[in-house]
Symmetry: C2
Subunit: 352 residues, 2 copies
C-alpha cells in the first residue's frame, strides 16, 4: 500500500521574542528569517511532492490572508486552511489536524509540524518520515532531534526500548533541564530534543485524545462539525472551540499514552526562538557579522544587523550586538540579552 | 548714542557628524537638539529685543524655506535673508554680513554668530555684547569662551594686554592643541576657546577684508551688488560669489589684523559638534540616559537615545551607547566613537 502523508502545518504562533520583526499581525512564521523564503513557505516547500499530499494549514483567523498569499506566491495550494477563532494550544490543534486528515483520507497519515522551524536537511527529514510511517499506523511517532549541545531551552525525550530499527518507545518527557542535567543527557545518548513534530494516523490520534483529553476532543469535533466552509477554508466554530481546555499535546496525550514512539534523527533542525539563534544560523562575513537589508557596518564584530524595510541602519564600533530595524520599531540589544526582547515588545505594545 | 546691534546669523553648516539627524537638506541648525526649539530658533530668540535689530540670516539657497518657516513660526521676522549660491567659508560670510549691515544702518554694529551654538546664559551673553560695543566701533571683537576643561577639539585664542577692563588684545590664534598643551592653556588662564562669534562695525570689517583678503571682499561686493532681491530675500549672484576664495575669517583677517580684540566670557557656550556633546548637554534620568521621542529603555545606562520621528526605539542592556533614529536612518554607536559618525554619513550617502 502506498504511503500518503498530509502535512498539517501549525501556524498559530505569535511570538514576542522576535520583536520588532514578529508582531501579532505578522508573527515570525510569516517572515524570511533564515533564508529568502518565509518560514511557512520553507515548511510548505519541504513538505511538497510525493509522498506528501497538499497540506492543511491551521492558523488564526487574523492570519488567513497572509498565509494564503504566501503559499499562493509559490503556487503551493493547500487542500484546507483551517482557521482557529482563538488560540487553544496544541492538543486542540492535533484534534483538528486529525479531523481534517480523516475527512481528507482516513488511510493517510498526518504529519503535524510547526510552521516556524528551520530544517536544513529536508531530504533526510523526508527519509525519516518515511522510515516512521509503518510505526505511525499504530503509534503517534514524535521526532527526537539528536542534541548537538546541552541546550537548556528545550524539553527532552528519553527513549526506551527499540521497537523496530531506529524507532524507540518513549520512556518519558522531560522539562527544560539545567545545564548540568542537559550535559548528562547529551553524554548518555538516550535523550533527544522534543521538536513538537508528530506523525500519526488520524484514527489513533482521535482515539487517544478521546481517552486522555475528552474535553479537547469533544470541543474540537464540535467546532469542526459546525465550521463555516468556503472553498478550502474551514472556519472553526468559536463557541465550540473555546470550550477546549488550553493544553499542549505533550501534557494531554503524549505523556500518558502507551501508543507512542520516538524516532531520533539529525535533520538540521532549529527553533528560531530568538535573535541569538538567528545569528547562529545566519551567513556571516569574516568579522562574524550577519547583515541583511540596507545596513552600514563600521568596526562591528559578531553582530546581527537586520533591516527589514526600516531606515538604513549604521552600526559603528560594537561587538556582539543585534540591531533589528523595521518600519514599526528598532531594537538594539546585546545578543546575550535576547531573552529580554519580549519585555521590549510588551513596552512597545503599551506605547501603542 | 544708543547702541544698535544687528545679528548676522550664519546658517551655512551642513555637518555630517550628526547623521542621520543632520542631513544636507536639514543640517543641525534646523533641528531641536538641546531644547524644544531648533538651534536657529534659539539663536534668533536670544538675539531679539533691544539692543538687537531684526536679524540678517545668511544661509544656503536650499535652506531658504526651512529657515524662513522656522523663524516665522516664532514670529521673529528677519530684516534680510541672504542666500549663498554655494558655501565659500566664513571670510565671505563676514563680508556679506558687513555689506548687509552697512546697507541696513552704517552706524549699527554687526554681531556675526553661528546658528548652531548652544548658549545657556543668554542674559550674560547680552551683557558681554554690550560691554564689547564701544571697543567694536574700532576693532573686530571676538568672544573668547573661558575653558571649562582642556578641550582638544577647539582652537584657542591667547590674549595679550588689557585694552579696557575685561577686553584684551589678541596675542595669537592657536590650532586645536594636544591634551598636554590644552591642559597648560587652561592652567595658565590666558587662553580661551575660539567660538567664532564676532562683533564689529561694518566699516572696520570691510576695511580689513579689503586690506588682507581683497579677493574675498571684491567677490562679495560684486555678489551683493548683482544680487536678485525679492522682499527680504537677497539672492547673491553666483558668478561673482564663486570668485571668493574659500577661506575662514580667522585665516583671512583675524590672524593678521591689528584691529582686533577678545572679550573672555562665561556664557554657557557649547558647540554641538557631535552626539557626545549632545549627551553631555542633555537632561538625564537617574541612570544617566538622555532619551527623547518614542523610546524604550531596559537596563540602559549613560546612553543617548533620540528618536526624531523614526520607528520606536528599544534599547536593552547597553551602556554608553547612542541610538539616533529618524525616518531616513538609524545610528548605533558607542558615545566615545562619535567622531566616526561622519563615516556612516558618507556611507549612507553612497547607499543613496
Amino acid at each position: 500500500m502506498s504511503i500518503k502523508i498530509i502535512p498539517a502545518i501549525m501556524s498559530g504562533g505569535a511570538g514576542t521574542r522576535l520583536w520588532p520583526l514578529s508582531t501579532s499581525s505578522a508573527p515570525k512564521q510569516f517572515h524570511a528569517l533564515a533564508t529568502e523564503k518565509t518560514m511557512i513557505q520553507e515548511t510548505a516547500v519541504r513538505l511538497s511532492g510525493a509522498p506528501f499530499a497538499p497540506s492543511i494549514i491551521i492558523c488564526g483567523r487574523g492570519h488567513f490572508e497572509i498565509a494564503d498569499a504566501q503559499l499562493a506566491a509559490l503556487d503551493l495550494r493547500p487542500q484546507a486552511i483551517v482557521l482557529e477563532p482563538m488560540a487553544r494550544n496544541t492538543a486542540a490543534v492535533a484534534a483538528v489536524a486529525a479531523l481534517a486528515g480523516q475527512h481528507s483520507d482516513p488511510d493517510a497519515l498526518v504529519l503535524m509540524v510547526p510552521a516556524d522551524h528551520v530544517i536544513t536537511k529536508p531530504e533526510v527529514f523526508r527519509e525519516v518520515i518515511l522510515a516512521a510511517a509503518e510505526t505511525a499506523r499504530e503509534r503517534i511517532v514524535t521526532f527526537g532531534i539528536r542534541p548537538t549541545h546541552p541546550e537548556t531551552g528545550f524539553g527532552y525525550i528519553e527513549h526506551g526500548a527499540e521497537l523496530t530499527p531506529g524507532i524507540f518507545e518513549i520512556k518519558r518527557f522531560l522539562e527544560k533541564p539545567d545545564l548540568e542535567t542537559a550535559t548528562e543527557y547529551v553524554r548518555g545518548g538516550h535523550h533527544d530534543w522534543n521538536a513538537g513534530i508528530f506523525l500519526f494516523s488520524p484514527k489513533v490520534m482521535l482515539e487517544e485524545l478521546n481517552l486522555y483529553a475528552p474535553e479537547v476532543a469533544a470541543a474540537a469535533a464540535d467546532a469542526w462539525q459546525k465550521a463555516g466552509r468556503d472553498g478550502v477554508t474551514v472556519n472553526l466554530d468559536a463557541d465550540s472551540f473555546i470550550q477546549a481546555p488550553s493544553i499542549s499535546i505533550d501534557y494531554a496525550v503524549m505523556e500518558k499514552t502507551h501508543r507512542s514512539a520516538v524516532i531520533p534523527c539529525e535533520i538540521g533542525w532549529a527553533d528560531v526562538g530568538g535573535f541569538a539563534e538567528l545569528w547562529r544560523l545566519g551567513a556571516k562575513d569574516e568579522a562574524g557579522n550577519h547583515a541583511r537589508g540596507k545596513t552600514i557596518l563600521i568596526d562591528a564584530k559578531n553582530c546581527l544587523i537586520q533591516n527589514h524595510g526600516g531606515p538604513t541602519v549604521a552600526v559603528i564600533g560594537l561587538d556582539d550586538v543585534m540591531v533589528i530595524s523595521t518600519p514599526s520599531g528598532v531594537l538594539v540589544c546585546p545578543l546575550d540579552r535576547a531573552q529580554d526582547v519580549k519585555k521590549a515588545a510588551e513596552a512597545a505594545k503599551a506605547l501603542g
